[in-house]
């Protein structure tokens, strides 16, 4: 307890608060630019922290991380282009709300639910880290594989109106995810002789193209009339009723985010999709999803920010990095002589609690920083479409180049964008591509490892309690939406028949 209080006093020093604010401002910018991510923000600033005190260093990195995860959602709402993959589900709903002239409302929800999800995950980090660490230890390769399959079930909810095409897109995208070296022998598969494809498709360029260029092409569909047209921001005010109406949704999504964050190799992006999926399942109006459901935004944002604190739990308690940014945290902590792992809380209590309490503060400060960015960012909507379209193209090209400094990746981005546009025109949902690419590699790797471990005794897998539970969950999450859809269709048919009779 004394350590926690000490953490408080450390965090509340003016210098540390300034560091948090600065980190947030920079982090949000990284998140908002396509091609830049929370991971890059943290990686670039690690050397700066060498000269800082350990506590302050970790606060800066935490602020960059949280800001980066949050920042992706601002362009996701305003132009329908997620700054990071973690905001892809937000884009689905945000776009529609902006078209309705409710950008302000959408942005406020984004900020509020991000703060909520992030703060809750920080509290989880403070209170139940040791307990959650035990769960993290149960997650081995078979469980990771099942989580990936479980994640794929989201495709069903994402493409409800067009189930067959959605599943087909997901399967083909999984094939695309197998491009490049296989996980066991390192043989380059399906490269067509391109050296650049030995490592497979980089996910980020594909996603930038997939989400940004179709928006540009859609603007071009109406070439003559609309190019000078601008949008409106609308009021940012939220009625209290609307906020509390989403409370349960927010808590559920944050908890999903925390749990996904704990699992190695699944981060904020998967968390956002899963939380969105569950919100849609639980919603009274699932049909509104995709055409501006606030619930979807809340779920996605509380989910992806929930994963920030979640991914630090296995890092701090076991020394296992649960995500790419967490891996960089690990490096930075070690250089400061702080060794994450079971001994951390006893040996470096002051620094750790400074970081955890700081994590709560950072998430609260994120409200202020977030609203400032939203306010200024929403000015984008007043820019005429001709300028906006041009800027998006330039940003997508430069942003993609920034991820790996390769022109080949820029071509991949362009190809993905064109493909995404053709898909959208012909009612093929594009989000399953993102999901399959994010999950595919991991799924194959953990499958290959599981097969090696359990060679010749596959049934023993079910002696792992968590694996069995996840398998049941997965089966349920594949079957449930299908049954529900069938029921709803039957009901609609009945109603239609009754109407006719009358």
């Amino acid at each position: 307890m004394a350590d926690i209080l000490l953490g408080f006093t450390n965090v509340l020093q003016p210098m540390n608060i300034l560091i948090c604010l600065g980190g947030l401002f920079v982090g949000v910018l990284f998140g908002a630019l396509p091609g830049f991510s929370a991971t890059m923000a943290v990686a670039i600033f690690v050397p700066f922290t060498y000269v800082m005190e350990p506590g302050a260093a970790l606060l800066l990195l935490s602020a960059l991380y949280c800001g980066g995860v949050f920042g992706g959602s601002i362009p996701a709402v305003l132009v329908g282009i997620p700054g990071t993959p973690a905001s892809a589900p937000t884009a689905l709903e945000g776009k529609a709300l902006v078209r309705k002239g409710e950008a302000g409302r959408a942005l406020h929800h984004v900020t509020l639910s991000s703060v909520f999800g992030g703060a809750l995950s920080a509290v989880a980090l403070l209170i139940c880290a040791p307990l959650l660490a035990q769960i993290a230890k149960m997650v081995g390769q078979p469980e990771q594989m099942m989580v990936a399959v479980f994640g794929l079930s989201v495709v069903i909810m994402l493409s409800e109106d067009n189930l067959f095409k959605g599943v087909m897109v997901a399967i083909i995208s999984l094939v695309l995810a197998t491009f490049g070296q296989d996980p066991v022998q390192g043989f380059p598969r399906f490269t067509y002789g391109f050296k650049e494809l030995i490592g497979g498709f980089s996910v980020v360029p594909v996603l930038i193209g997939l989400f940004s260029l179709p928006e540009v092409f859609k603007m071009l569909e109406d070439p003559h009339g609309k190019m000078t047209e601008t949008g409106t921001v609308g009021s940012m005010k939220l009625p209290l009723k609307e906020i509390f109406g989403n409370l349960i949704n927010g808590i559920r999504s944050a908890v999903i985010g925390i749990c996904i964050g704990i699992i190695p190799a699944a981060g904020p992006d998967i968390a956002a999709f899963m939380a969105y999926n569950e919100a849609k399942k639980a919603s009274k109006h699932p049909e509104k999803f995709g055409s501006g459901a606030v619930e979807g935004i809340v779920a996605s944002e509380a989910g992806n920010n929930g994963a920030t604190g979640g991914s630090l739990i296995p890092l701090l308690t076991l020394g296992i990095p649960g995500s790419a940014p967490a891996a960089i945290f690990l490096g930075a902590m070690i250089i400061h002589g702080i060794r994450p792992g079971p001994t951390l809380f006893s040996q470096h209590a002051s620094v750790v609690y400074t970081m955890i309490i700081g994590f709560i503060l950072i998430n609260l400060l994120m409200y202020i920083v977030g609203m400032i960015y939203c306010k200024f960012g929403s000015l984008i909507l007043y820019i005429p479409k001709s300028i906006l379209a041009t800027t998006i193209v330039v940003l997508a090209v430069v942003g993609t180049y920034a991820t790996s400094k390769s022109i080949f990746d820029v071509w991949v981005m362009f190809g993905a964008g064109l493909l995404g546009y053709l898909m959208q025109r012909n009612n093929f949902p594009t989000s399953p591509v993102a999901l399959a690419l994010l999950l595919g590699t991991n799924m194959e790797q953990s499958l290959a490892r599981t097969l090696t471990m359990y060679e010749g005794r596959m049934l023993d897998l079910f002696s792992r309690p968590l694996f069995t539970a996840l398998t049941l969950f997965t089966v349920f999450s594949f079957v449930y939406p299908l049954i529900k859809m069938k029921l709803r269709k039957n009901k609609k048919a009945k109603e239609a028949a009754e109407l006719k009779e009358q």
């Binding site: 050397p47 066991v184 390192g186 050296k195 030995i198 076991l318 020394g319 967490a326 490096g331």
Partner: protein, 319 residues
């Protein structure tokens, strides 16, 4: 009038730029150097590179940006180095097995001649660890477990130094283990801690958290001497396999044809950084074993290492 003005401006510009060249003390001063790290952010290679480059930057008085270009067992990043200009402004992190890319990795075309070695800055040992669940407590147990070829041995990536360490160990002790491929030492450690994997060979920094907390057993270390971070873990050599040494050296290389003067300057800066007390202290904490080798020595070592790895691969590729 206007022409005179332009002429004056031009002459002034020339003088200024000439002075600029004259006053610059080194090739890199004031410029931005790119260093490609072909492994992901936060991994062993990335941590080591970012740490040393922070000090090299100060030595050269230049700006260094680190780019992580991942995938393809490091080949994507190295291909990117080789597709650029040989102007000495782009360098890449390189380690034991990279120069044999063309024979080890299908689809990779680069080899020894494509690189201009610059300097080596570290040589990191691996720690052989076993899971608590396995009951393996020491090297004897480990050798006993390696008789039937069914014990799982987690490595951090296909056909990098991880694979060679396994091969070298098996050869020295007459054992064989079942190969299980992970994407990095940290991931393998996770499975050691929950008992799914039996043996793994992470770097010191990756093994420390688990060993501190008795969540895994440290069997031996693969360097010639014990590691200050793990004073209780014996070396493989002192346990009866004299001369056994297998470390992952870390260095920098440029594209072949890059100006030698520049590379020498960079190598010297790396050397000075390696002598910096502050760096040495930070490196020790990060589990990086500093082991500098300058430009001239590294040229020889680079070629010898290439042949050694090639021979080891040729002898074992059918495994």
């Amino acid at each position: 009038m206007r022409k005179t003005c332009i002429a004056i401006v031009l002459v002034l510009a020339l003088i200024v730029s000439a002075m600029g060249i004259a006053s610059a003390e080194g090739f890199y001063e004031g410029k931005t150097v790119e260093v490609i790290v072909p492994w992901k952010e936060g991994g062993g290679a990335d941590v080591a590179c970012r740490l040393i480059l922070e000090y090299v930057k100060a030595e050269l008085n230049c700006n260094i940006t680190v780019i992580n270009v991942t995938g393809g067992g490091g080949s994507i990043g190295l291909n990117q180095l080789l597709s650029g200009d040989a102007d000495g402004m782009t360098l890449a992190y390189i380690a034991n097995t990279d120069t044999n890319g063309n024979i080890m990795l299908d689809g990779v075309t680069y080899g020894l001649e494509d690189f201009a070695p610059v300097a080596r800055f570290a040589a990191d040992p691996h720690v052989i660890v076993a899971s608590n669940a396995s009951g393996i407590k020491n090297l004897e147990d480990l050798i006993a477990a390696g008789q039937d070829g069914k014990t799982l041995w987690g490595i951090g990536g296909a056909w990098t130094h991880w694979d060679f360490l396994k091969i070298e160990f098996e050869k020295a002790t007459g054992t064989s283990y079942k190969r299980l491929v992970y994407d990095g030492g940290a991931t393998a450690m996770t499975d050691i801690m929950n008992g799914d994997c039996t043996v793994a060979t992470p770097f010191v920094s990756e093994a420390l958290p688990a060993l501190d907390a008795n969540e895994a057993v440290g069997i031996a270390i693969t360097s010639a001497e014990r590691n200050p971070q793990l004073p209780d873990v014996p070396t493989v050599a002192e346990l009866g396999y004299e001369g056994f040494e297998s470390t992952m050296w870390r260095g920098f290389a440029a594209k072949a044809g890059a100006p030698e003067e520049a590379l020498k300057e960079f190598a010297e800066a790396v050397g000075r950084a390696c002598g910096n007390a502050e760096f040495i202290e930070k490196a020790a904490k990060a589990g990086v074993t500093v082991d500098y080798m300058g430009y001239d020595d590294f040229q020889v070592y680079f070629a010898e290492n290439h042949e050694a790895v090639k021979a080891a691969y040729e002898a074992n590729k059918d495994q």
